[in-house]
């Protein structure tokens, strides 16, 4: 099915889910579950907590699907719900050992060019030093493939702030990869 066909099919599922059809809702959510799980896993360690947050996200999406106005993609909307659920989790627990979500508030060339940065080990090592908020941003940009505008809408931060934070993350990674 082409992307237009997928979009029409998704619109039908959204419409059906909004009128209470659970099967349609499940068909809508299932393709997003891997993304939701990995997003949660990027911020929350214990598997039991991840499971609970996945369930809370799905429940919240179900109860509020009626208010989904399709001004954003469904994927963006449900990741936004996950983000709130992770924040709730940290608010309600005393297990705040990693950086909380609110820290978003703080904080084709030559072969040589590619070779210099494609050292997988160096990239992995560089990614491992990112803070929780930085990892979240990297996840939203590179894994969820959200635009800066979508991340801005989700977090409530100005688009320029998202861009400058991403620029800082890239600079941090570049320095780490180059061993500076």
């Amino acid at each position: 099915m082409d992307s237009r066909g997928e979009s029409v099919a998704q619109e039908a599922l959204i419409s059906s889910a909004r009128s209470g059809n659970r099967r349609a809702f499940e068909d809508l959510v299932n393709p997003c579950l891997k993304l939701i799980y990995n997003y949660i896993a990027s911020r929350v360690g214990p598997e039991e907590d991840r499971k609970d947050i996945v369930q809370e996200t799905v429940l919240s999406a179900w109860t509020s699907i009626g208010s989904f106005d399709a001004s954003s993609a469904f994927k963006t909307w449900i990741i936004g719900i996950s983000r709130h659920k992770i924040a709730d989790f940290y608010r309600l627990s005393s297990r705040n050992r990693t950086v909380p979500l609110s820290d978003f508030e703080e904080t084709a060339g030559s072969d040589d060019e590619y070779e210099a940065v494609l050292d997988k080990t160096a990239v992995n090592a560089a990614l491992s030093v990112l803070t929780g908020a930085e990892r979240e941003l990297v996840f939203l940009v590179f894994s969820a493939e959200l635009s800066y505008g979508e991340i801005s809408a989700m977090t409530g931060l100005p688009c320029g702030t998202i861009k400058s934070r991403m620029a800082a993350v890239k600079e941090k990674l570049r320095k780490k990869i180059e061993g500076r």
Binding site: L33, L59, K120, N124, F142, E145, S147, K170
Partner: protein
């Protein structure tokens, strides 16, 4: 102005390597990359990050997959019946109510 070009192009790079750009945006990026070493290096960095992030993505554990919809519970069944518009809707609702009442009684009696 070269700086502005690079800035604009770099804003487009995540989409260029990710979900895609329009045909004209794609052409703009490719033309720019052909003549700008700095943006080619930036592209290479983003591709490396994207690959690395993709490799760390895990499949959803089976128990989380199986239980993802558990909290929706039985109460959502009513919404399903109401939205079905079935000619048997009244019967379905009665069936639902008795089934729920039966569950409550069984739960209360511990059976």
């Amino acid at each position: 102005m070269i700086f502005t070009d690079c800035e604009n192009i770099r804003d487009m790079l995540p989409d260029y390597i990710g979900r895609g750009l329009t045909e004209s945006e794609n052409t703009t990026v490719i033309r720019h990359l052909a003549s700008c070493r700095g943006c080619r290096e930036e592209t290479a960095l983003l591709i490396a990050i994207k690959k690395s992030v993709a490799e760390t993505q895990r499949e959803v554990p089976p128990d989380i997959l199986d239980s993802a919809f558990d909290k929706l519970g039985q109460n959502t069944r009513l919404g399903e019946i109401l939205s079905s518009g079935s000619v048997f809707m009244a019967f379905d609702i009665l069936h639902y109510v008795f089934a729920e009442a039966g569950s409550a009684v069984r739960f209360a009696c511990g059976i």
